[in-house]
C-alpha cells in the first residue's frame, strides 16, 4: 500500500429524496489498482452513492476527494474530466445511433467518426471488448451494449470506472470475461468500483469490499479478511430475535385451499428479456408467502404474473377472479395524484363498472376506509397528492383489500414509510391473511419478508425454490452463494 492520498474518497455522504433517506453519512475509500466491491440490499443506497460519484446526483451533505483534492461534481461532464466513468445498471445508450456515435457523444475534441471507430477497435483489441463501431445500438445484444458502455468510458480515458451490477444481465461466460477484464484494468493502474450481488463472484475478484445498509457504511475491509457469511450478515443485518419466521413461533395448522397456482410458468419483462424461466408454485388461502430475492432476479415479473398484471409467455396460471395488487411504485402504478381519494378508491374495478358512478356510496366507502385503515386525511374529497407517503400506502393497501379479494400480492409495501405506518401495513396484511386471503409479499428487506411470512420462496436467476425457513440458508440462496 502506498501512503499517497486515496484515488477516490467519498466522505459522510447524505442524500434524501423527500422523506426517504437514501444515504445517511455513507463513506467509501478506493485506491489505485484496486477492484473495490460495493455490496448491499436493494435500496441500501449503492446506486445513489455511485451516481453522486459520477455527478449524476448531488449529495445533501458530504464531500468528494480525488487524489486528496476536494472536488464538486455538478454534472457527468465534470466527473469525466477527472477520469471517472460509469456503466449504469440501465444503460444510458442512444438506441438509434451507432456504436461510434455513442462513443463520440458529449466529446470535446475534433469530430471524427473514423478516428472514433479506430479508437473503438484499438480499445477492443487491447481489452478484449470487441465491437463493430458501425453497428446500430438497437441491433446489439445486451452483452455488447454493456461492452459499449465500458468502451465509452475508456475512450474518455476513464481511470476510475464505476460498474453498477454489470454481471446481472450477462451469461456466465460473459460475466467471467468481464470480471477478468476488470482485474486486468485494475492491475494496469485503474480503479474499479463494482456494485454486485453474487458474493462468490465478488470474493474471487475484489481487493476490497464496502457494505452499505440503509444508507450507511456498515463494513469496509480487504476482501481477504471476510467470508461469504460475514458479508451476508453485514448486508442483511444481524438477525434480530423478533424477525423469526412466523411459523417458527406459532406453526399454523390450518391450511387453506390452493388459491394462486403457477405450473411451469415463464415470463418476460417489458423489454422482452426472459426473467422467469420455470416457476411452479401454489399459494393457499389464509397464508402469507414471502418472496426473497435480490434485485433483477425475476421477482418483479413473478409478482405481476401472480397479480394477473402480466401474461406469462409459457405455462399455466390459475388465478381467482379478484386479486389485489400493491405495486412498489405507487405514484406511477397505483394511484392518481391529481384525483380525489374517492376517485382513487373507485379506480379498482373501474374497467368493469357500468352506468353511472355512485359517488355518494363511494364517498361513504372511502370514508369508512379512512377510518378502518387509519388514513390521515381531511375527507374523501381531497386530492391524493395532499396525503403523506405513509397514508397513501395505507390507502392503497386498504383499497386493494376493500372487496375482500381471494388473493393479495404486495411488492415492497413499506419502502420509505416510517415505523408507525410500517406497523399498520404489516397489521393489515396479517389481518387479511387471518380473514382467509392468500397473500404474497415481496420485500427487498429480507427481515421484513421473514417477519411477515408463513413460508418463504426464494427467486434467484429466474428460478423459484423453497429452501426452508432458515435465514442463513435463504440469504445465501438469494445471493447465489455456495452452500
Amino acid at each position: 500500500m502506498t501512503t499517497a492520498a486515496p484515488r477516490l474518497a467519498l466522505n459522510a455522504i447524505s442524500r434524501h429524496f423527500g422523506t426517504v433517506r437514501a444515504l445517511d453519512g455513507a463513506h467509501l475509500t478506493a485506491q489505485r489498482g484496486e477492484v473495490h466491491a460495493i455490496l448491499g440490499e436493494n435500496g441500501a443506497g449503492k446506486s445513489t452513492l455511485m451516481k453522486i460519484a459520477y455527478g449524476l446526483d448531488q449529495p445533501n451533505a458530504g464531500t468528494i476527494e480525488i487524489d486528496g483534492k476536494r472536488t464538486v461534481l455538478r454534472t457527468p461532464r465534470d466527473a469525466m474530466a477527472l477520469g471517472i466513468g460509469m456503466v449504469q445498471q440501465h444503460f444510458a445508450l442512444v438506441d438509434a445511433l451507432t456504436v461510434a456515435e455513442n462513443v463520440a457523444l458529449g466529446g470535446f475534441d475534433r469530430f471524427d467518426l473514423k478516428a472514433t471507430a479506430d479508437t473503438i477497435r484499438r480499445l477492443g483489441t487491447e481489452s478484449g471488448l470487441g465491437l463493430d463501431p458501425m453497428a446500430r445500438v438497437s441491433t446489439l445484444p445486451v452483452g455488447a451494449q454493456q461492452r459499449l458502455e465500458i468502451i465509452k468510458a475508456l475512450a474518455r480515458n476513464a481511470q476510475i470506472l464505476i460498474l453498477d451490477e454489470p454481471t446481472a444481465v450477462l451469461s456466465p461466460t460473459e460475466a467471467k470475461d468481464l470480471l477478468d477484464w476488470t482485474r486486468r484494468f485494475a492491475d494496469a493502474g485503474g480503479t474499479v468500483l463494482l456494485i454486485a450481488h453474487k458474493l462468490r463472484e465478488i470474493l474471487s475478484i475484489a481487493d476490497h469490499v464496502t457494505v452499505l445498509r440503509r444508507g450507511k457504511t456498515v463494513l469496509t475491509s480487504s476482501a481477504g479478511a471476510v467470508t461469504e457469511q460475514l458479508l451476508a450478515d453485514a448486508m442483511l443485518g444481524a438477525a434480530p430475535t423478533a424477525t423469526r419466521m412466523h411459523n417458527d413461533t406459532s406453526p399454523r395448522v390450518a391450511r387453506g385451499t390452493p388459491t394462486l397456482t403457477l405450473i411451469n410458468v415463464a415470463a418476460q419483462d417489458e423489454y422482452g428479456v426472459a426473467r422467469i424461466a420455470d416457476a411452479t408454485l401454489s399459494v393457499n388461502s389464509g397464508e402469507i408467502v414471502g418472496i426473497a430475492a435480490i434485485e433483477g432476479a425475476g421477482q418483479r415479473e413473478l409478482l405481476r404474473v401472480l397479480a394477473g398484471r402480466l401474461v406469462q409467455t409459457n405455462g399455466l396460471v390459475k388465478l381467482p377472479g379478484s386479486v389485489g395488487f400493491v405495486p412498489e411504485d405507487r405514484h406511477r402504478d397505483a394511484i392518481v395524484l391529481d384525483a380525489t381519494l374517492t376517485e382513487n378508491l373507485a379506480l379498482r374495478g373501474a374497467a368493469k363498472r357500468r352506468g353511472s358512478m355512485p359517488w355518494k356510496i363511494l364517498d361513504g366507502i372511502t370514508h369508512a376506509l379512512l377510518q378502518t385503515r387509519d388514513v390521515r386525511a381531511v375527507d374523501a374529497r381531497v386530492q391524493m397528492r395532499t396525503l403523506s407517503g405513509g397514508n397513501q400506502q395505507k390507502f392503497v393497501v386498504g383499497r386493494e383489500l376493500a372487496d375482500s379479494p381471494a388473493a393479495l400480492v404486495v411488492e415492497n409495501p413499506t419502502r420509505g414509510l416510517d415505523i408507525r405506518a410500517t406497523a399498520d401495513v404489516h397489521a393489515a396484511l396479517r389481518a387479511a391473511r387471518d380473514a382467509g386471503t392468500a397473500v404474497v409479499v415481496y420485500s427487498s428487506d429480507l427481515d421484513e419478508v421473514l417477519l411477515l411470512s408463513d413460508r418463504v420462496l426464494v427467486v434467484a436467476a429466474g428460478v423459484v425454490r423453497d429452501v426452508g425457513s432458515d435465514r442463513d440458508a435463504i440469504g445465501l440462496a438469494m445471493l447465489g452463494a455456495s452452500r
Binding site: 384525483a339 379506480l347 358512478m357 359517488w359
Partner: protein, 369 residues
Amino acid sequence: MQPLARTLRAMLEPILAISLSLIALSALLAVSGYSVTAAMTALWHGAFGSWSVIASGTLVRATPLLFAGLAVAVAFRAGILNIGAEGQLLAGAAAATAVSMTISPAFGLVGSCLALMAGAAAGGVWAGIAALLRQQFGVLEVISTIMLNVIMLHLTGLLVRGPLQESTATFPQSALIDQALRLPRIVPGSRLHAGVVLAVLSALVLAWFLRSTARGFRLRMTGANPRAAASAGGIDVAKVATAAFIASGAIAGLGGAVEVTGVTYALYENLSPGYGYTAIAVALLARLNPMAAIGSAFVFGALEAGAAAMQREAQVPAGMVGVAEACVILVLLASEWIGARAGGWSILSRGGPPPEQNLAELATRGEQA
C-alpha cells in the same frame, strides 16, 4: 374549508390570466399610439353594449368556440393532444351542408337534426383517422391533426368549387341552406340561434358524463395516469383514448354543423376564423372543465365580438385580440410552472410523459424510485 379554498384558487387563476392579458392588450394599444380608453370602450360596446349586441355578437361567436373548446377539453382530459378541432369543425360544416342540400326542405326541423348528426359523424370520422394513425401506427396526433386540418381546408375548397357550389357557379361557396332547414332563431330580432342552447346543453351533458358515468371516469383516469389506470383499474387505456379522440372530433363536427345551419347558412372555405385554435385557449382557461368552458367561451366570444367593434369604431386592428388570446395561454402556462414550483398542481394533468420518455427516465433514475 378546503373545497372553498380550492374553488377560490381555481377562480383566481383564470381571472389573473384575463386581467394580465387585458393589461398586455392595453400596453400594446398604448405603444401603438391608440387611445386605450377609446379602444376599450369600443371593445366593451361590441361585446356587452346592449342585449342585442350580447345576443347577436358575443353569444353567436361564443357558440362555435364552446363546441370546439369542449372538443379540445375532452381530448386533453383523455391525454390526447387533439389540435385538429379546426379540421373536424370544417368536416362537420361540410357534411351538414351536404345533407341540407340533399334532403327536401319539407323535413323541417327533422332535417336540421339530420344535418347536425351528419356533422357530428363527419367530425368523428375525421378525428378517427388521426386516432387510427395514433393507435395502429404510432403517428403523433399533433402532426397528423395539423395535416388533417389543412387537408380538410383544401377539401372544403374543392367542395365549394365542385359538387356543393352554388347554382350560378361563380362564387366559391355553396348555395344558401333553405329557410326550413336552418336552426331557428331564439331571440327575436337578433342573430342568436338555437345552436347556443345546444352548445350549453353539450357542456352540461359532457360535465355530467365526465363526473357521473363510469365511462367518463375511465376517460379521466386514463388521461391523468395511464399506467395506474391500466394497472390498478384494469382499464384498456388504448381503447378509451381512441374513443375519446373520436368523441372529441364529433363535438367539434357538431359545432361546425351548427355554424352553417345557424349562422352562415352556406359553406365556404374561411368559415372558421381559427375557432379550432382559439378553442385551445378556451379549454385551458376553463382548466378543461366543461362547465367552466361555458364561461370561458363567453369571455372569448366577447373578446372576438369586441374586437370587431374595436376595429369598426376605434380603427384598432382585430389582430390585437389574437395577441390577447395568446397572452391568456402563455400566462396560464407560466402560472402552471409557478404552481408546480409552489406545490405541484397543474392545469394539464395529462398524466405522465409518453412511454418513450418513461423508459429514458428509468435509464438514469435507476433505483431512486
